[in-house]
Amino acid sequence: MDLTLKIWRQANATAKGKFETYTVKNISPDSSFLEMLDILNQQLIEDNIATPVCFDHDCREGICGMCGLYINGRAHGPDKGVTTCQLHMRKFKDGDTIVIEPWRAKPFPIIKDLVVDRTAFDKIIAAGGYVSVNTGGIPDANAIPISKKDADTAMDAAACIGCGACVASCKNASAMLFVAAKVSQFAHLPQGKVEAKERVKNMVSKMDEVGFGNCTNTGACEAECPKEISILHIAKLNREFFAAKIC
């Protein structure tokens, strides 16, 4: 496949960015999207065209959450339920022009080219995304039975990889799906119940503080989430939040 790529280039956080156009040839439909970018970069370096395009990536099997590109106007590109690293070129056609941008959201400032700073997510987890237990001094793992249904729902929420696609897809740059995934995981488990109210209040207020917008129920986050996390968890988050505020 021969492709035209329009890629966002930006030297650093404060520089002005713009789209540059590159072409790649003879790309195998079996190669992954990031392997296609590897080929581009090798070409840019060895043919002295430009400095390579920077993008975040690590595990390349869809679980670390490090990669995240906005491809043709969609977070993680056209395939459903996958991260950018799991997207394969067979989803494109020979001769296509592909537009590649970074996540665009105020709380995710650009570091370089397609790389953004997502430490805002870490700050939200630090504000309360845990059960406050120290190492040791805990009961036997089977001491508290948990219904399979609850454990499964908790796992559905816990599957979040923290990539930020929900924020990038949302017109309000809301992090509600990310926060909801963590709050809902714990809301379905007996562990950490005693601090549930503090948790949800602290996480939501941190989410506001670091600059994420609010949810207006468009559902874009759910549609683009590579782990297909349901917005029902946002409903759970809202319920937990209101309950915590009332009592």
Binding site: D58, R118, D122, G129, Y130, D140, A141, K148, A158, Q185
Partner: protein, 646 residues
């Protein structure tokens, strides 16, 4: 040999750890506040150690190269974590887990360490459940288990196919809780580039801020390396793209001994290589071998027809299929340990029975789907099947998966004693970065167990035994000569690299080296291939320093520079792997020397001469490293040839 003291406590095996804890020195709460500990790496071992040390009151500085500690590659572990809970009432015990691990490691691991690992394994599950890790459960609400290779009991706890993710997020959340409290200072997008040694003790690191390129000095009363293995030396592996052996290699060059570099695990169930542009290999969890059956055609002509695209696997009649693991190892069948399964796959493919490109075998779920129904299979392995389909564009519910072995884990690593301290006082190595628990082959679902055992329940105790002497040592300013010199080593190396200005990209070079490493020091090794490797890698090292090209500058976000520094180390690590493999004139676990095999093609150990841990000491760039040996003494286990047949 006198240099290696493994410090194994006195007493019977089952009392060693409790005796140690009863007698070790501790640091009181007021003094803990005065002590800084550096932890490099935030996988299961690093994150759990950072959180636990901070909870105890130490000041912790934690480093990772990723943008967030939650992304460390432990996250990609799929299948599960072992623990001797005996919840299934199937005869499991601490002793049995200990025994299986020693046997699985082909009698090349240290008894006392492995016993301790088995002993604390149950606590790990308790800890993770308390953190809210959503393990799989039965309808009665209790925890579910499954089986993994090398065991005849079901002792593996799991969270769908994302066990590593859930355990890491548990450790990460415990870590972030401490960040919030100010007891851990987090340095993400930072890469350790040197160790600082003052008066013979580890006292800090030099790190590069990967966003600004700034080189920084950091002091710690002790330094913990939790940076994983060196499998990415091969370029193609199941590791993350950024996984590297550089921190381990730097401490080796500062005097920490490096053990068993030749012991590399090749995982039998990975998606086969499909092109030379490929950047990584994807694992299909070992848990699939619970229900999947591995086979190749019995007739060569069928295999040929399949390779030519003239036959489909579903058209091969049952009697024309060779379920070679069930045939060769009836007692363990498809659940033999990884090294055995990998070699058996290679043997069939080399003999001409491979499918796909010729380097693949089938992993078939048709029987399981008939027996359990598609829904149950989907529940157990749904995300793995989906992952396979996305990559290969084939539906594993309808046609068998194709798999082939790939580099997955490194059993070798930094030498540590019973306390997990290296040969440099105050320097510790935990998790995959050390060598200690898996011998020559690691059993499935044991990496997560070891990472968390080291980080939650071992290091936080043993490190106090050392730090108790350090309560009066004031923090250093980092203006000391040792810090200045260590920084100078880093900057001059980076400058040298930036000036090479050759023609090849780093990836281009790494691929070339990785292929050679796979061919010469891969799944099967010979004296000849290893001698060739030693010569060739020296040349490649030279070529690297003249041929590669790093665009951009060192004072900015520059992934090419990061990769170059790692690849330069990989080439040297590869050399030590070859040297170690050449020295070890036997086959054991993941180390297979073709000269040393039984008539049936099984690995043949030589216990008389090689029942030791190799520990290599760096002697300078132009000199060969010196080999030290730690003899392995088995007091509790009868050493035997591994038998998975009956």
């Amino acid at each position: 040999m006198a240099k290696l003291n493994s410090k194994i406590p006195e007493g019977p095996l089952s009392r060693k750890w409790s005796n140690y804890k009863a007698e070790q020195r501790l640091v009181n709460p007021a003094n803990k506040r005065k002590i800084d500990v550096i932890v490099v790496g935030t996988g299961l071992a690093g994150a759990s150690a950072s959180a636990s040390l901070a909870e105890m009151g130490f000041n912790v500085k934690t480093f990772c190269y990723q943008d967030s500690p939650r992304r460390a590659h432990s996250i990609a572990a799929q299948g599960g974590i072992n623990a001797a809970k005996n919840y299934q009432n199937d005869g499991d015990s601490v002793y049995r887990l200990f025994y299986d691990t020693i046997k699985g490691g082909d009698y090349r691991a240290r008894e006392a360490n492995v016993y301790r690992l088995a002993e604390v394994s149950g606590l790990i599950i308790d800890q993770c459940v308390a953190q809210g890790v959503p393990f799989a459960r039965e309808y009665g609400g209790l925890l579910d288990n499954r089986s993994f290779g090398g065991a005849q009991v079901s002792r593996t706890f799991y969270a769908r196919g994302q066990t590593g993710q859930q355990l890491l997020l548990g450790a990460y959340s415990a870590l972030m809780r401490q960040v919030n409290k100010g007891t851990v200072k987090l340095f993400s997008r930072h890469e350790m580039l040197n160790l600082v040694v003052v008066d013979g003790k580890a006292r800090g690191i030099i790190a590069r801020d990967m966003v600004t390129g700034k080189i920084e000095r950091h002091f710690g009363h002790a330094v913990v390396i939790a940076t994983g293995g060196y499998g990415n030396a091969f370029f193609l592996s199941t590791n993350a793209m950024g996984s590297n052996g550089s921190a381990a290699w730097q401490v080796y060059k500062k005097g920490a001994f490096f053990s068993n570099p030749a012991y590399v695990q090749i995982h039998p169930t990975c998606i086969p290589v499909h092109g030379d542009f490929q950047s990584k290999l994807t694992l299909m969890s070992e848990s699939l071998r619970n229900d999947g059956r591995i086979w190749v055609p019995k007739k060569k002509e069928d295999a040929e027809a399949i390779r030519a695209g003239k036959l489909k696997p579903t058209q091969i009649a049952e009697e024309d299929r060779d379920y070679y693991l069930e045939r060769r190892y009836p007692a363990f069948g498809n659940l033999v340990p990884r090294d055995v399964a990998s070699r058996a796959a290679k043997e069939r493919c080399d003999a001409g029975y491979g499918v796909g490109s010729g380097l693949a075998v089938y992993l078939d779920f048709a029987d399981a789907i008939n027996r359990l129904g598609r829904k149950v299979v989907e529940e157990r392995y749904g995300n793995l099947f989906q992952m396979y389909e996305k990559i290969v564009d084939d539906n594993p519910y309808e046609t068998p998966m194709m798999i082939y072995p790939a580099i997955h884990y490194t059993m070798g690593g930094i030498w540590v004693d019973y306390e997990l301290m290296t040969t440099i006082p105050g320097l510790y190595a935990i998790g995959e970065a050390n060598f200690s628990d898996h011998g020559a082959n690691r059993l499935g679902a044991s990496a997560l167990m070891q990472g968390l055992a080291d980080g939650y329940f071992v290091l936080p105790y043993t490190i106090q035994n050392y730090l108790a002497d350090d309560i009066l040592t004031p923090r250093m300013t980092t203006n000391e000569k040792e810090f200045v010199d260590a920084e100078e080593e880093v900057t001059s190396r980076i400058d040298r690299m930036m000036q090479i200005n050759g023609k090849l990209s780093v990836d281009h070079f790494h691929k070339k080296f990785g292929l050679q490493l796979w061919d010469l020091v891969g799944m099967a090794r010979t004296k000849e291939s290893l001698e060739k490797a030693l010569v060739s890698f020296k040349e490649m090292r030279k070529a690297f320093w003249t041929d590669i090209k790093i665009p951009g500058s060192k004072d900015e976000f520059n992934p090419e520079l990061e990769k170059a520094a790692r690849v330069a180390d990989f080439i040297e690590i590869g050399e030590l792997m070859a040297r170690d493999a050449l020295m070890r004139e036997e086959s054991c676990g993941g180390h297979f020397r073709e000269e040393h095999q039984t008539e049936e093609g099984e690995a043949q150990r030589n216990d008389e001469k090689y029942m030791f841990v190799s520990a290599w000491e760096y002697k300078g760039e132009s000199q060969e490293p010196e080999l030290h040996k730690e003899e392995l003494i088995y007091e509790n286990i009868k050493v035997a040839q591994r038998n998975y047949k009956k």
